[in-house]
């Protein structure tokens, strides 16, 4: 079954999901930045006491913020978070991730369980890995022989 049909039939749970960085809204931005650095991840998901997402703060939002003030890093997350966040459920088809990335121009998608609780993170990188997984003859070979391609793990989510 070709790739596109697989994306329609296979579930988000099949993707290599990332462990999300989550925090409550009163967490200082500075602390969130340190956790994102340590976790090599470009976003923090703001959650309520029941681990349900209520907001998102991304590194692109951080860049925007720094054009206005450096002092914002001492503010709480909920002052600067986006109160809309894209999400998919574990049992949604993978093609929904593709659709979200294209129509909403998003990089990260929260993955939630049937109760709306945050269970993972997916997005551009997971999708690229899924596509590459289907064409190892093309992709792995390029990686092995490509003189300009360093090994896995150099980049970040």
């Amino acid at each position: 079954m070709p790739l596109y049909e697989n994306m329609q039939s296979q579930l988000v749970s099949r993707l290599s999901l990332r462990e999300p960085i989550s925090a409550t809204g009163d967490t200082p931005l500075r602390e969130a930045i340190l956790r994102m650095r340590k976790g090599k991840l470009g976003c923090t998901i703001v959650v309520d006491d029941d681990q349900r997402p209520i907001g998102m703060f991304t590194e692109s939002m951080l860049t925007q913020l720094l054009t206005h003030t450096s002092a914002a890093v001492d503010d709480p997350l909920d002052k600067h978070m986006a109160d809309r966040w894209p999400w998919v459920k574990l049992n949604d088809p993978i093609v929904d991730v593709l659709d979200a990335m294209q129509t909403k121009n998003v990089r990260f998608l929260c993955v939630v369980d049937q109760n709306g609780r945050l269970v993972g993170l997916t997005g551009q990188k997971s999708f690229m890995e899924f596509v590459a997984d289907h064409f190892p003859d093309q992709v792995i070979v390029k990686w092995v022989v490509g003189q300009r391609h360093p090994g896995r793990g150099k980049g970040d989510d």
Partner: protein
């Protein structure tokens, strides 16, 4: 993570997309527009470009040749908590030097390889003289794949 060809189900072997990835060149993927700064530009100027143009990566050039990239991730990792001290420093001090790149004549699979295997999201595209000709992002690769899905 990534399997070998022997592990693939037989029905994946005949996906026409494999031929597309092998035979289409990076040049077939949208790689313009792109944003550049010189290596002497300040960190503040580079951040203004990232934020003002709503891009995640600027290419750092010297005489048209690629010398580095400066991304949202560099802002997070090297600037955010040190912004006041860093804002007037040259971007060359905090950029990622000698980034992984592809040639415009490489196969589309090469760009996908850099993203999926090496883990870099933004892949500069250079010509045979290492002059910058563009940048490929996951969004652009996704659009490339999507076009193929739509065209079928």
């Amino acid at each position: 993570m990534l399997g070998t060809s022997n592990e693939r189900p037989d029905d994946l072997r005949n996906d026409p997309l494999e031929k597309v990835l092998a035979e289409e060149m990076v040049a077939a993927i949208q790689h313009e527009p792109y944003v550049t700064v010189t290596a002497e530009a300040t960190v503040a100027e580079a951040i203004e470009k990232l934020a003002g143009l709503h891009v995640a990566c600027v290419l750092v050039e010297d005489g048209g040749k690629l010398v580095g990239v400066f991304t949202d991730r560099d802002v997070l990792d090297r600037v955010a908590l040190e912004h006041e001290a860093m804002r007037d420093r040259p971007v060359s001090e905090v950029m990622t030097a000698n980034p992984v790149c592809v040639h415009e004549s490489d196969s589309a699979a090469a760009a996908l390889s850099v993203m999926a295997v090496s883990g870099y999201r933004h892949v500069p595209v250079v010509d045979l003289d290492d002059k910058i000709v563009g940048i490929v992002s996951p969004q652009r690769v996704t659009a490339f794949l999507r076009k193929y899905f739509t065209d079928r």
